[in-house]
């Protein structure tokens, strides 16, 4: 199984993420500046992000409380964002359709302000 992302850190070391979207290992990234991220998108291609001050990653899921898929975690989207000064760029990847939506915003966006600040790396 390939990691869902591979990261080159500022000292040249390489960190490999988890092999599934339910075990990304994002929180285990060493506390060093990220130089480049190679991210395997849900349909298999690879996104590359580099040159940002900080990076943010999250998986969005749905869990039904009843019905024919109750209790099953349904993967909806993966987000990968980069922040440089007050600008935010990134991608929202749809697990179902494979579509990738480009995100271009800034730190004052309510969506950005609502993100858990501890996840920025």
């Amino acid at each position: 199984m390939e990691p869902i992302f591979t990261i080159i850190l500022s000292d040249g070391s390489v960190f490999s993420g988890g092999t599934s979207y339910s075990e990304t290992k994002w929180k285990e990234i060493p506390d060093k500046k990220i130089r480049t991220i190679f991210y395997k998108i849900p349909k298999g291609d690879v996104l590359v992000m580099t040159g940002y001050d900080k990076y943010f990653h999250m998986i969005e899921v749905l869990k039904d409380l009843n019905g024919d898929r109750a209790g099953i975690v349904n993967f909806e989207f993966a987000y990968l964002l980069g922040r440089k000064e007050d600008k935010i760029n990134g991608y929202k990847m749809n697990f179902k359709t494979g579509n990738i939506e480009k995100i271009e915003t800034n730190v004052e966006d309510n969506f950005i302000k609502g993100l858990n600040p501890n996840i920025w790396k």
Binding site: K63, D64, L65, I119
Partner: protein, 212 residues
């Protein structure tokens, strides 16, 4: 590991938290357990000793009123394993539609990236919200009302948010979770007066959450 969420209901005392008094809560086995919204009667009630049949549920259904809105009187947990407090299949959800805070509990075992939210959809495809109970295509008219009670009581006579589809949902806290936390909501179903289409409908309650 990814953050996970368990769903529990309070069946004893809706003034106590899951953290302090876990014995007052039942965690739903989401594969087999389910919630029953009913007017209730002599058969369909708290502490049933069998799983209610479709006929029994129909007989205990809420009746649409010509003049007044009807709030469904009872929410029962149907506990398939019937292994709580004796051999009972049903347990009344305590505090539903009351000014109670610790009723429906969403227990997260780790941080989230955004605020978890409660949604309602027609089916597990999460694509439409057109059933009558969800407002027949007008989310604001959804019969299903929810209110976040993680941080405060809902207040007497709470109205809540009509939940349906992607646009009408309830956030279960005021910020993304920075650690494991129990979140709470209260729910009710309010059937408009003289609603023209009686129906026995199922809809899907869903929690949308995120993790790193």
């Amino acid at each position: 590991m990814a953050t996970t969420m368990d769903f529990l209901i309070n069946y004893v005392d809706a003034t106590v938290t899951h953290a302090i008094t876990p014995a007052d809560y039942i965690e739903l086995d989401l594969i087999n357990d389910y919630l029953i919204w009913t007017a209730g009667d002599a058969v369909v009630k708290d502490l049933m000793t069998h799983e209610p049949t479709a006929d029994e549920l129909n007989a205990a259904a809420s009746i649409i009123d010509d003049v007044l809105d009807v709030e469904v009187a009872l929410c029962l947990l149907m506990d398939y394993s019937h292994d709580v407090g004796g051999a009972y299949y049903t347990h009344k959800v305590i505090g539903m539609n009351e000014n109670k805070r610790y009723v429906y509990c969403f227990s997260f075992d780790d941080a989230t990236a955004t605020i978890p939210r409660l949604e309602a959809w027609d089916t597990s495809a999460h694509a439409t919200a057109n059933k009558h109970v969800l407002g027949a295509g007008t989310p604001a008219n959804s019969f299903v009302k929810a209110i976040m009670t993680t941080n405060a009581l809902p207040r007497v006579g709470w109205v809540g948010t009509a939940i349906a589809g992607a646009s009408n949902y309830v956030e279960l806290d005021i910020a993304a979770l920075v650690a494991a936390k129990d979140l709470y909501a209260n729910l009710k179903i309010k059937i408009p007066a003289a609603y023209v289409t009686p129906a026995a409908e199922t809809y899907v309650l869903t929690v949308r959450y995120t993790y790193a």
